[in-house]
Symmetry: C2
Subunit: 140 residues, 2 copies
């Protein structure tokens, strides 16, 4: 079931904190890497210049999870964090312009990334959220 | 294959940064929560006062991954992070003293956590590393 992303969730996704992205290897074991993320409408998106393991994994099994550390603590003193679980679609092309947009968030307003550009390079991972959790106002 | 934890890896594990712990749900999809971690010899350990989903998952399927953000950046400007993949053993009891030890790292030197104590409460998740990766001097 698709869930809409609340304003609080959208704020964490666009906060410039790295997302810990989990995919599933062919043997079903969890594979993790840290990625830049942004929003494209109601989807969480990341850009990938190469056919990395995580991209290969998502083409085979779209189940995905990501977690992002957030500001604030709950009443027990535990740090807020966001977990989104859902399904990913791999869309061909579009990695360079997305990474350039995200570089402004993650690296700074003047930075150019990736070094090679072109609209058809790489791919975009587009995540549809099915569950939102963690610790914070978005967790119920 | 078990891998020994280098000094650089041990420093990240004990840095007081949260670990993003990934387990596998019964349907094989990834489940993530953020936990405090420490070292017990060559194992990475976390304490759990309740029979949470992650603990239930690890009793059924010991495959686990964790990622931790670290200080420093590589030559591309990308932040360092550690990923450890391995197998977890759930050891009964010992959660309260471990959480109390880790509370000094994560919350502060004077803090008491958990509020309820006793040596037989909860469980300890003890992780044996099989692969170490991410971005940083520990990734090859």
């Amino acid at each position: 079931m698709t869930v809409a992303l609340s304003e609080e969730v959208r704020r964490v996704v666009t906060s410039g904190r790295l997302a810990h992205l989990v995919t599933l290897d062919p043997d079903g074991s969890p594979q993790v890497s840290l990625v830049w993320v942004g929003l494209d409408g109601d989807h969480i998106v990341s850009g990938h210049m190469g056919e990395w393991r995580k991209v290969q994994n998502l083409r085979r099994d779209p189940r995905v999870a990501l977690s992002i550390e957030a500001d604030g603590r709950d009443e027990r003193g535990l740090d807020h964090y966001l977990v989104v679980r859902g399904r990913a679609e791999v869309v061909e092309g579009g990695a360079a312009p997305l990474l350039q947009r995200l570089a402004h968030v993650y690296l700074g307003p003047d930075l150019v990334f990736p070094p090679v550009s072109g609209p058809t390079l790489g791919c975009v991972v587009r995540i549809t959220a099915e569950r939102v959790g963690g610790v914070g106002p978005w967790a119920h």
